[in-house]
Subunit: 205 residues, 2 copies
DNA sequence: TTAGATTACGAGTGATTGCTCGTATTCCAC
DNA sequence: GTGGAATACGAGCAATCACTCGTAATCTAA
């Protein structure tokens, strides 16, 4: 049975870990998770393969740590988008602006994010890492729906929240792949889609 | 310089090719493209690795052939969805039903499809194989928009067509992953989303 | 019938890649 | 200062996988 005493990191080590995660995000974004080699990540971080394995026991753990960091940053983006606002008092357009812009910006700033979380064969432990924010996001959208459409039956509300989230996440690739002069128009269309759906729900009384 | 004389296939060989493509679609769907090994595909087809390479020079060519078959079948699904209908004379609900159901059914029946075409690192030659149907789909949706909303400026029309397609394709994973008793309700929501967006475009006159 | 082509086999090969290990350097607590 | 821990190196190991090759069975055209 391995002792597995956690080593006491020096400041240098903490810095290295951050550098490795940065490098991994870049390589994942460029090559995709499978094609990304640990040696390439080490080279991108400016260290040797052996040094990389001083900090991460294997590639999966590296991916897990990067995922955890993404999740924490995404949670912050979600808090910025959702907290401290009375969504029942806003117009649908205002709701869309408040919620969509920061989350979209996060996706634009972190191309490695979807390389990790949108891959077809996501292992269960990575999905488990993403589950908290996914669940929290679902809860927040459901809460907005509950505040705005109180009469809606619970199953319908949960389903509509899932649909809203899926629309948004499904449109992210289109937004990201659209080059700059055209991008704001596409973002405006995304908002129109979500607003239209939200309005059609609210019009049911 | 290789002679590269195309060999004359026997009926048995044609059958084998179809069997290999079937097996590949299944293995791709289960394991994803990268994780799918050629030996596993051969085993699933009930043949040896060497026999597989009698028919396909490499894994990329196998993927290409499967993609071509999917594209042909998808094109047929598109024809069934679009041809012989005057979309200008239908209600938005009828348009949605006619277009969405057959294409959604194709995606449900062919789980290998998205394993090939939705992978993050799709090589350019695979994208080239998909381009004709993607282009044709874009043209068909644009034509429907042109028939229904004649006054719309061309750039807006093209953008809205792309958005409509992206909404649909972005929702496919949600539909596929929803188990059966619940699935029709999700499909109904997908249609409501598309109808809502279409109606909001048409309401602009 | 038979010669040549096609189909079939499966152990093996070369290349890739995640990861190790022996060793050297740097840091920090005492 | 000194000893132990943390950091760093990079050649190389073991496993995986796309693919090959020598050989044999089967089919088809004549």
């Amino acid at each position: 049975m391995p002792e597995e005493r956690p080593r006491r990191r020096q400041a240098r080590g903490e810095r290295r870990i951050a550098e490795i995660l940065d490098a991994a995000a870049g390589v994942f974004a460029e090559a995709g998770f499978e094609r990304a080699t640990t040696n390439a990540i080490a080279a991108a971080a400016g260290i040797s393969p052996g040094s990389l394995y001083q900090f991460f026991p294997n590639k999966a753990a590296l991916a897990q740590a990067l995922a955890d960091r993404f999740v924490a940053e995404m949670a912050a983006a979600h808090r910025a988008a959702f907290d401290g606002t009375d969504f029942a008092a806003l117009s649908v357009g205002e709701v869309a602006d408040r919620v969509i812009d920061p989350i979209l910006e996060f996706n634009l700033d972190n191309p490695g994010f979807k390389a990790l979380f949108a891959r077809p064969d996501m292992p269960s432990d990575l999905a488990a890492a993403a589950q908290p924010i996914q669940g929290a996001l679902l809860g927040r959208v459901t809460a907005i729906l509950a505040a705005r459409v109180p009469g809606m039956p619970e199953p319908d509300r949960a389903r509509s929240a899932r649909v809203l989230i899926q629309i948004f996440q499904g449109m992210v690739p289109l937004v990201v792949s659209t080059p700059e002069p055209e991008r704001p128009a596409v973002i405006a269309e995304v908002k129109r889609v979500l607003i239209g759906y939200l309005a059609s729900i609210e019009s049911l009384k």
